[in-house]
């Protein structure tokens, strides 16, 4: 085992003997992978932001017109006990009317009304959760006694969710296509390697090498190239994020907010490396399966067999 490892290392050294071609390949793989992986990171960040924003979502709860102060009190206690609600704010109908007068400049029109058309209302601040959960909460609250209507201000959240879904699909398509490209790159590289090592393969077959023995260094090569390409992609993404964060820090100061793009998590980094390594291995495997059987040993290279 140790020996075959030494042999494989020797083969790998010869394969990486042309550093320019090798590093160009790795660069191409790195760029190809950094596109979907980079978009994935940006999406992750966007999702984090959305989650933060939906934490400030609120449900407006309008009570029935015939509800009195007792009903309101009962409802308030009920809402405060609810596990999915973090805070409740009561807006009395008179207070609401005052607000309306002040904020809209419709004081004259409203003053002309002979009775207050506004009901008592609660502003419910739910605990942060996904949009569907909030929607369910709204439905539940609407069914409470003396509640006329519950309104979740969620249209924007839906739009964002849809946008994120779209983004995820784009990343998926991009990742699939570029994975294929990575496999194709490795396939072709290995094909060339096999052609240049034709003599060695032929001799090895003649002196009793199994297909596994011949295949192994090429698979190692494909996997190594994929791994290095993945590392290159990681480097590209990390440097890009650092540059973006540098720009964002200026922006954040202007808006007086803390806004930082998160890097690839260790788990995602590992996934990226393993995935690209696997793709390289797969491309190599396909190439070897396709091309190795074509090389059959001949005793006399000069004389054609047919």
């Amino acid at each position: 085992m140790r020996h075959s490892l030494a042999q494989s290392i020797g083969v790998l050294r010869r394969m990486f003997a042309s550093p320019l071609a090798g590093s160009l390949n790795i660069l191409v793989i790195g760029i190809a992978l950094s596109l979907p992986a980079g978009m994935y990171v940006l999406l992750q960040n966007a999702e984090g932001m959305v989650a933060q924003l939906s934490g400030t979502a609120q449900i407006s709860l309008f009570m029935a017109m015939d509800a009195n102060a007792d009903d309101a009190d009962k409802l308030r206690k009920q809402l405060e006990k609810h596990p999915a609600i973090s805070r409740v704010e009561f807006v009395a109908r008179a207070q609401a009317l005052e607000q309306l007068k002040r904020s809209t400049g419709l004081a004259d029109v409203i003053g002309g009304l002979n009775q207050n058309p506004l009901p008592d209302a609660f502003i419910v601040y739910p605990k942060p959760s996904a949009v569907p959960t909030l929607e369910a909460l709204r439905n539940e609250l609407e069914k409470l006694p003396k509640v006329e209507q519950a309104q979740l201000d969620s249209a924007w959240a839906y739009k964002l969710e849809a946008l994120l879904k779209f983004g995820r699909m784009v990343v998926l398509i991009l990742a699939s296509l570029l994975s294929l490209a990575l496999i194709a790159i490795t396939f072709n590289t290995i094909r060339l390697q096999i052609l240049t090592q034709r003599d060695e393969i032929e001799v090895a077959k003649l002196i009793g090498a199994t297909n596994g023995f011949i295949r192994r260094p090429f698979l190692y090569f494909g996997a190594t190239q994929g791994l290095l390409g993945g590392a290159m992609a990681w480097l590209i993404i990390t440097i890009s994020l650092l540059l973006l964060n540098y720009q964002l820090s200026g922006l954040s100061q202007l808006y007086a907010s803390q806004f930082v793009l998160h890097m690839l998590s260790p788990g995602d980094s590992l996934t990226l490396l393993l995935f690209s390594m696997y793709l390289g291995w797969l491309g190599a495997w396909l190439s070897v399966a396709r091309h190795l059987s074509e090389i059959e040993p001949r005793m006399f290279p000069s004389r054609s067999r047919s």
């Binding site: 020996h3 060695e200 001799v203 003649l206 002196i207 006399f300 004389r303 047919s306």
Partner: protein, 231 residues
């Protein structure tokens, strides 16, 4: 050790390379295979190494019918054979030592044992001092001897040599033949093809003569063959 039984070989183009060839080579025998080029010598050797398969008849090597071996089993057949090629088939991307090391790497020998064996093989053919040289820097005779070292390093029971002296001048050819004889003395089975009848002079080994794909009645051999035919 090697037995051909009514072997026919026709190439896809229709060329009949071997016609009804039958012979046996006993363990430890040294046999020459002669004939003009195109007589079928290489085809015969290819059939033994299962590089080609017969259309008819059977080829037995070590009691194994190699004509019907699964391709997965071929590597293990070939590990029992040492093949010496006319064009050497050396690898020019590594030095002499690593060329001889290759069969041992393939068989998975451990590091120390394989290095010992490589040195022994190189010593046997007189190339120990050239172990660091690239084969391209070696003369034709030295390249042939390196090829022999690679063929014997695995200590195969059968050695096949395809025109081993074909491109060499007489002096080198004598050297090579002397090496073969020394293997014969330690019990290896050898089958050596040659179109050069001069190397057969002063030898008393058995000769298989091929002519247009047919085996001539065993000629040139002396009484030696009769004795060694028992298996």
């Amino acid at each position: 050790m090697i037995a051909f039984n009514q072997v026919h070989k026709r190439y896809p183009g229709g060329y009949q390379a071997l016609k009804n060839v039958s012979f046996e080579i006993a363990k430890g025998e040294m046999v020459f295979l002669t004939g003009h080029s195109g007589a079928g010598k290489s085809t015969l050797l290819k059939l033994i190494a299962a590089i080609e398969r017969p259309n008819l008849g059977s080829v037995l090597v070590n009691h194994q019918n190699v004509g019907v071996l699964k391709s997965r089993a071929l590597p293990f057949l070939r590990r029992n054979l040492g093949i010496i090629f006319q064009d050497h088939k050396l690898l020019f991307d590594r030095n002499a030592f690593d060329n001889v090391l290759l069969p041992l790497q393939i068989c998975g020998f451990d590091y120390r044992e394989s290095h010992k064996r490589v040195r022994a093989a190189l010593d046997k053919v007189g190339l120990l001092k050239r172990e660091k040289s690239n084969p391209i820097a070696l003369s034709g005779g030295e390249q042939q001897r390196l090829c022999i070292a690679r063929a014997i390093v695995n200590r195969p029971s059968i050695l096949l040599a395809d025109e081993p002296t074909g491109n060499l001048d007489a002096e080198y050819a004598q050297e090579i033949m002397a090496i073969f004889k020394s293997f014969h003395q330690v019990g290896a089975t050898l089958l050596i093809s040659t179109h050069d009848e001069s190397v057969l002079q002063n030898t008393d080994v058995r000769v298989l003569a091929l002519k247009q794909g047919e085996l001539q009645t065993t000629a040139g051999a002396t009484g030696h063959s009769a004795g060694s035919r028992q298996i």
